[in-house]
Symmetry: C2
């Protein structure tokens, strides 16, 4: 398969690249590195991306950020950041790719464990991840040409624990390589509308 991997330079993205790169041709995309550049928060940039890469069999996104801060200190703008970046950024890849991806192709987005297991300072992440799960479930029933869409919801990643472990006390971390398996399941399997939880 020819697979477009957005967010290829991140902790999860690198592991997904290693897993899928063994069997497939990858085009690595990122905001500031990779084979192709894209600002996924801009629909025009996403359209450019698909013009450049041509037809692909799968789009995998491991990209998108949110603001982490105690609820007291989060204002509307902080929530908007996550909605614009991790939520609509990834949704833009689907909107921009729904005509560009080959028949039977797939989209795989990235949510996270805070969709169902909240932490202090994580309410924006919870909001965004909940939105992604529900969007994927709903978009799946309307995609045409056999296109599929799923979301991977990984636990906190082992490799990120040195930086963010103090927010995730009591969470059992997931090695990025294990999380990457769920992306392979989404891309190389045939399910759609699923949230793959990696615990």
């Amino acid at each position: 398969m020819k697979i477009l991997l957005v967010g290829a330079s991140g902790t999860i993205g690198k592991a997904v690249g290693q897993e899928l790169g063994r069997r497939h041709d990858l085009i690595l995309a990122g905001r500031s590195s990779g084979d192709v550049r894209v600002d996924m928060t801009e629909p025009a940039s996403v359209r450019e991306l698909f013009k450049k890469v041509g037809a692909v069999d799968a789009v995998v996104s491991a990209a998108g950020g949110v603001r982490f801060a105690p609820f007291d200190r989060l204002d509307a703008e902080a929530y908007q950041y996550g909605l614009r970046d991790k939520l609509m950024g990834q949704v833009n890849l689907v909107l921009g790719g729904r005509d560009a991806v080959a028949d039977g192709g797939s989209f795989t987005l990235t949510g996270g464990v805070l969709d169902s297991d909240p932490i202090v300072a994580g309410s924006s992440a919870s909001m965004v991840n909940g939105a992604l799960n529900a969007f994927v479930m709903a978009a799946a029933i309307e995609l045409k040409r056999g296109l599929r869409i799923n979301c991977v919801s990984p636990g906190v990643i082992t490799e990120s624990m040195p930086q963010i472990g103090s927010f995730f006390r009591g969470f059992e971390p997931v090695p990025a390589a294990r999380a990457a398996l769920a992306y392979a399941k989404s891309v190389e399997g045939k399910q759609t509308g699923r949230v793959y939880r990696v615990k």
Copy 2:
């Protein structure tokens, strides 16, 4: 209790007003009708609202719209509409009210059945409702002064079936008066971080 009801003139809002009005003092709020006016998409307007009404014991929102259209015809702007209106509009009520609501008070927001049971043309609603459920779950663990927050996720409302029934074939409608009971449970009970599904 003194209860601020936002979206008081809508189908659900009216039923909630009837249910809660039997036992409580209601302040009815809306974009273009009610005792007080508010554009909940504007944080400044929400701040004004809470200045006007003073301390309340509960905020109930039955307000917020999304765009319904086949997935093919939804662009980023259409999704943004729902994020700005039904999602962040209601979240703005919480952000603006978290210091204004009395100790032990509550917020009750409105999601909907498309959070888990998608329909054609409903992917924006699914996204927004999923976001609301997860936000409420997460904000609940960080609210101070004993404040609570819940979301009511009603099925399609019987009174709305003449207008939107063709989108919801096979859904068992819920009379607005039954949906209103869940709001009473949220406001007058003591649970927090809950999604009350009314089926």
